[in-house]
């Protein structure tokens, strides 16, 4: 059993160049034993290249990858203590499910009896008992993926690598598999490293997420930290939906700060940000953290004053667009100062969405701890 405090994978200053293109740019990461680690980023950000370097299918141009303390330089994929679930699943089409799952064990020279037993266990683990004699072309995409999972898990790798494991599944199945993958990881205790471009997938499954942008790690954090405390504009924008406003830091003390944003007004915060006075900063404000009010009501002002004691976090505007999504309604509001802002509102009762409609004048307020000040 690996030591949980010891990183199972150490990526040290790894750079990968394809010709003139730098796919991975000086990345250093530690992945801990037993965690569910997710590499999240837009397509072409280098996350898959990073995964393939761990598996051994690509070699780093510079830098070092250590698995369980051992340098992987010069070690081919078939000798590494990791296994991969491919995006296309790569289930061998000419072999039955049992032969697919038993392939690695057969190569390793495991005896027939033990092999059969472990194949049976692995198929049970992914809930495919009774499918042992099926051929892959008689199975659905979701089932094929389970075969690929079982085929890797049966090898008892130190790390399981998953390349966009859910991208080919439909939405319902994807949600179910997100849950099942987390459960499976709990059950087997193997380190999972998953690559995805889907933030929902990352947030729901991961213990920690590394957001990758243009070959670099933009932020490494737990899902809730990533969402609530994004480190920069890229992360704030990529993970979830956000309103971004450029502004100047005009007040910055230990327990309060204020940012002047043209078009939005002065934004008050109930904590310091430790940025230079007058610096150009950005305010990130999540749509669900903005409260909508009908204008002219003292309620809005009272609420704003309560949530931001040093000043009103208040804005006014007119609804220009709305989309009803069932659980929430999204509003596009044109601020009196000019820019657009997005606000989401939960539909707590059946007729909630009827309160506001197109061209309504509205007031908005938000709490003093809701905006995030970003320095870059």
């Amino acid at each position: 059993m690996p030591d949980p405090a010891q990183p199972i994978i150490q990526i040290r200053n790894v750079t990968k160049r394809f010709g003139k293109v730098t796919a991975v740019d000086n990345v250093s990461l530690d992945i801990l034993a037993g965690e569910f680690f997710v590499l999240l980023g837009p397509s072409g950000c280098g996350k898959t290249t990073l995964l393939r370097m761990i598996a051994g299918f690509e070699l780093p141009t510079e830098g070092q990858i250590l698995i369980d303390g051992q340098d992987m330089a010069g070690i081919p994929p078939n000798k590494r203590p990791v296994n991969m679930v491919f995006q296309s699943y790569a289930v061998f089409p000419h072999m039955s499910v049992a032969d697919n799952v038993g392939y690695g064990l057969k190569i390793a020279g495991t005896g027939r009896a033990e092999r059969d037993e472990r194949v049976r266990e692995a198929l049970e683990l992914v809930k495919l008992h009774g499918f042992a004699d099926r051929m892959p072309d008689q199975m659905s995409g979701g089932q094929r993926q389970r075969v690929a999972l079982a085929r890797s898990l049966v090898m008892r790798p130190k790390v399981l690598l998953l390349d966009e494991p859910l991208s080919a599944l439909d939405a319902k199945l994807r949600a179910q598999m997100q849950f099942e993958l987390s459960e499976l990881q709990d059950q087997v205790g193997i380190t999972f490293v998953t690559v995805t471009h889907d933030q929902d997938e990352a947030l729901s499954m991961a213990g920690r997420i590394a957001v990758i942008n243009k070959g670099e790690v933009a932020q490494l954090a737990a899902p809730s930290d990533l969402y609530e405390y994004p480190a920069n504009r890229f992360v704030a924008d990529f993970v979830g939906s956000v309103n971004l406003f450029e502004g100047k830091l005009t007040l910055d003390e230990a327990d309060k700060a204020a940012v002047d944003c043209p078009g939005l007004g002065r934004v008050y915060l109930n904590h310091g940000v430790t940025g230079p006075h007058g610096a150009d900063v950005w305010i990130a404000l999540r749509p669900e953290k903005i409260y909508l009010h009908v204008p002219g009501e003292g309620k809005a002002i009272r609420a704003a004053a309560q949530d931001a004691p040093d000043g009103y976090n208040l804005a006014r505007g007119q609804i220009k667009g709305m989309s009803y999504l069932g659980d929430i309604t999204l509003y596009e509001i044109k601020l009196d100062g000019g820019p657009m802002i997005r606000v989401s509102r939960p539909n707590l009762s059946r007729r909630d969405q009827e309160h506001f409609t197109w061209d309504d004048r509205v007031s908005m307020h938000w709490r003093a701890d809701s905006p995030v000040v970003l320095l870059n």
Partner: protein, 303 residues
């Protein structure tokens, strides 16, 4: 108008397919039918053939003399096919895994011989293999330098180099046929390998298999249709090869096509030539039937 279903659009389909079908019927099926009919006929006079329905020609065709030539042709063709497969598979692999920049050029290299006349290619090969050809000159030079090296260390020099007989024997025929038929093998292999999902190979490596086992357990089984197509497309023309054994072979290396040619031309025995030709065609039918049988068995193979 959609033309996806010929049953719904009989007339436009007839208009489009009519000309080629007519062409095929007129210039392929009719002459073949005539030759087939000849195979049941006998000579009457210098230029007349009577279709009498006799099986005499076939009886002659299965005499030991002709049957042995037929089986020898089959053996030569099979050997040629095997060599083509052994040589062609790595070539097809190399083309498949070459970079995008190189692949078209390598494919061009394989196809280039197609654009050169077979006769010219055969004569070119003959100049290489001849008694004073480059192959013998190179071997002679090697021999000479080996001899010279022996004198350096104080040994007796070797005997004078006598050119090796590389031409006008069975070896030359096999070499020539391999040379001519290699592209036929490489192209179907390449197209099968190119269709192979690369991640299957990576998955095999990932699961601990080395390159050789990945080749034998994943790549070859999945490329089997291409391998089989390559075998058929090489074996059939090699079986009926005429020019190569005629030009490069010796007295003992004639193949069935050379015997057939002699019946039509020198012996002026068209009925017997026709019967021999159709023996060859029946054999090819059998091979093709074997292939389609294999194709049909495939779903049943799923265990």
């Amino acid at each position: 108008m959609s033309l996806q279903n010929w049953q719904e659009h009989k007339r436009p389909f007839a208009a489009i397919a009519g000309a080629p079908i007519l062409w095929l019927a007129l210039f392929f099926i009719v002459p073949m039918a005539i030759v087939w009919a000849y195979s049941f006929g006998e000579n009457s006079g210098a230029a007349d053939i009577v279709i009498s329905g006799t099986l005499h020609n076939y009886k002659r065709a299965i005499e030991a003399l002709y049957l042995s030539i037929f089986f020898k042709s089959l053996a030569v063709a099979a050997l040629v096919t095997l060599i083509c497969l052994i040589v062609g598979f790595p070539v097809a692999m190399a083309i498949t895994f070459a970079s995008d920049k190189w692949r078209p050029w390598l494919l061009l290299g394989v196809m280039l011989p197609f654009w050169t006349n077979l006769l010219i290619r055969t004569y070119a090969l003959m100049t290489v293999l001849g008694g004073n050809g480059y192959a013998n000159k190179a071997l002679g030079a090697l021999w000479g330098s080996a001899s010279w090296l022996r004198t350096l260390v104080g040994l007796q020099p070797l005997e004078v180099w006598t050119p090796v007989q590389l031409l006008y024997n069975n070896f030359a025929v096999v070499l020539g046929l391999v040379y001519v038929h290699l592209p036929f093998m490489v192209l179907p292999l390449y197209s099968a390998l190119d269709r192979l999902d690369r991640s299957l190979i990576e998955a095999s490596l990932d699961l601990g298999a080395g390159h050789l086992r990945t080749l034998s357990r994943i790549v070859m089984p999945l490329a089997a249709p291409g391998i089989f197509a390559g075998i058929m497309i090489t074996l059939i023309p090699a079986l009926g090869a005429y020019l190569t054994p005629d030009l490069m072979g010796g007295t003992d290396s004639q193949m069935i096509a050379n015997v057939i040619e002699r019946q039509f031309k020198r012996a002026n025995d068209w009925p017997f030539g026709a019967a021999l030709s159709f023996m060859l065609i029946y054999a090819m039918f059998a091979l093709v039937a074997l292939q389609s049988l294999r194709g049909r068995r495939k779903p049943a193979q799923v265990h």
